[in-house]
């Protein structure tokens, strides 16, 4: 008598049901990954547009900023699709699938904003055209999607999380420290100072946070090195008397 004729431990219905649930999850994950892939593909053209900022003097940046802003806006339909599909599930069930791409998008937005982009936001009385501004988490969420909330805590909805925003700021610091050197190469001796002040301000803001041993903590530990890199650039300029005279 073989064991297959015996009714035993495993009720096949149990595993049929488990498999069904696993399959349902797999379908959801696949659908989300597809959208996220699309978002990632489109973000590459934004990255290409933004990379020109390292090679073009700040005076002639306007067209680059315009192109970058347009490119970012082209990512928004894919983002809307993501929000629409992801909203059918608890937010934190699948957020690992898109978190990195959202961080990248937020970085594109804050970097573009720092360079003077996204000057006129709907709902804002006056534009913030200035170079060196930091778009707040709410401003970024507005740009990403008209109604997207930032930092939710009372409803289970799609939103921009604090962590994603902070990761994007850390990327911004890294990008700006690179921009500081490249500005000098392009003959712009003023921007490194501006970047240095900005990173110092962000650094002191990050010091307010009690970060635990996580990815944010590890990355934010790196700010001081970036800060020093930029300070070294400013030092080099000062030493050689290349800084524009303070008024």
């Amino acid at each position: 008598m073989d064991s297959s004729s015996v009714k035993g431990l495993v009720d096949p219905a149990i595993f049929d049901q488990l498999q069904r649930k696993i399959d349902e999850d797999a379908v959801v994950q696949e659908g989300l990954r597809e959208i996220v892939d699309r978002l990632e593909k489109q973000s590459k053209s934004t990255k290409a547009a933004l990379s020109k900022t390292h090679a073009i003097p700040s005076k002639s940046l306007a067209s680059v900023i315009q192109a970058s802003e347009a490119s970012i806006r082209q990512q928004l339909p894919a983002l809307s699709k993501l929000v629409q599909v992801a909203s059918q599930h608890p937010y934190y069930r699948w957020n690992g699938i898109w978190s990195r791409q959202i961080q990248d998008l937020v970085f594109d937005i804050v970097y573009c904003g720092w360079l003077g982009g996204f000057a006129n936001q709907p709902g804002q009385s006056e534009g913030r055209k200035e170079i060196g501004k930091l778009l707040t988490i709410d401003e970024v969420a507005d740009i990403m999607q008209g109604k997207m909330p930032a930092n939710l805590k009372d409803r289970d909805e799609f939103h921009l999380t604090i962590e994603e925003y902070l990761h994007a700021l850390l990327s911004l610091i890294e990008e700006l420290s690179r921009l500081a050197r490249n500005s000098v190469t392009l003959g712009d001796y003023e921007r490194p100072q501006q970047i240095s002040r900005f990173i110092k301000d962000l650094h002191s803001a990050f010091l307010l946070l009690n970060l635990k041993n996580d990815a944010l903590r590890k990355r934010s530990d790196g700010i001081k090195y970036k800060m020093k890199e930029v300070e070294d650039v400013v030092y080099d300029l000062t030493l050689r008397n290349l800084l524009p005279k303070s008024p």
Binding site: D11, F15, L18, K21, D156, R197, L211
Partner: protein, 293 residues
């Protein structure tokens, strides 16, 4: 340095504290709450894990299958179950609404270990695998109030993987002390007093069950283990998913556990004839025996 002096003209709404302080102060409050919740969940998960291990340890003293856990063993289990109950109630409010899945990776370990204990006890009492719904309702029967704790299919499945190891230990000990594989202690029909719906279904077709006690191949733990192994191996998990990653880690251990019982049984059959009743080669000896011969 000149950049210090020109700081106030930086085109930002600088205050003496720096321009971003107020936004970051909001972040700090939120992140502090988040970290506090996460730490509570992590601690509860650890405590649930420890208590579940103690329950499993007590359950391993069981010798009979398909019967309620004996009162002395139950007495040692109950305090740990109370502890688990207290832990789950302590963090239940941290796992609601938006946060239902937020701390999933932090609570997963505790859930899995508790599933291991729960499914092991269920098996000892019913000689059957606990269905997912029963596991969910057992977990939530510990939670007071209207809130529920989410138990994912993933955690349930991973708990079952680990339970195979407990069945292996149970088999080996039973074989060592009784000289044979644990099997159903009585014909299936007499279990109808059992209140669990699941066992009702299993009682319906019982033609093969009558001569169970005589046939070692039937209704014993090894045949259950093999069925479970086949069913777990057959699960088709999504590629590149967290579950796939975890299942890959546990699959080999699970298979080894089944094989250890098979090797032990082999040792029992090969050497049993020349050994006094009650003597039992340990696992390593069974392996040596196999390698040699």
């Amino acid at each position: 340095m000149s950049n210090k002096r020109s700081r106030d003209e930086a085109g930002m709404d600088s205050t003496s504290d720096g321009p971003f302080q107020s936004m970051f102060e909001t972040f700090r409050v939120e992140l502090d709450e988040h970290h506090a919740r996460r730490e509570r969940v992590i601690k509860a998960s650890r405590d649930v894990t420890a208590a579940s291990k103690k329950i499993i340890f007590s359950l391993q003293r069981t010798r009979e299958l398909d019967q309620p856990i004996s009162p002395p063993i139950k007495k040692t289990i109950d305090p740990h179950l109370d502890n688990i109950k207290a832990q789950y109630n302590g963090i239940c409010s941290d796992l609601q609404g938006l946060n239902a899945y937020r701390y999933q990776s932090n609570i997963s370990g505790g859930h899995q270990e508790f599933m291991e204990a729960l499914s092991f006890q269920y098996y000892l009492e019913n000689q059957a695998l606990i269905p997912y719904e029963t596991a969910v309702s057992s977990l939530n029967s510990l939670v007071e109030g209207a809130n529920k704790i989410t138990l994912t299919v993933d955690d349930y499945i991973l708990g079952i993987f680990d339970m195979v190891g407990e069945l292996m230990r149970f088999c080996i000990t039973a074989m060592a002390s009784t000289g044979k594989l644990p099997a159903r202690s009585k014909p299936r029909r007499s279990t109808s007093k059992n209140t669990l719906q699941h066992s009702d279904r299993m009682d319906v077709d019982d033609g093969a069950g009558d001569d169970v006690g005589d046939n070692e191949q039937e209704g014993n733990v090894l045949s259950d283990l093999r069925q479970l192994r086949v069913a777990l191996e057959a699960l088709d998990v999504p590629r590149k998913s967290w579950l796939e990653n975890q299942v890959r880690k546990k699959m080999g251990v699970m298979q080894t556990c089944v094989e250890k019982v098979e090797k032990s049984l082999y040792g029992l059959v090969v050497r049993g004839a020349e050994r006094p009743t009650g003597w039992m080669p340990d696992i390593n000896e069974a392996e040596r025996l196999e390698n040699r011969g």
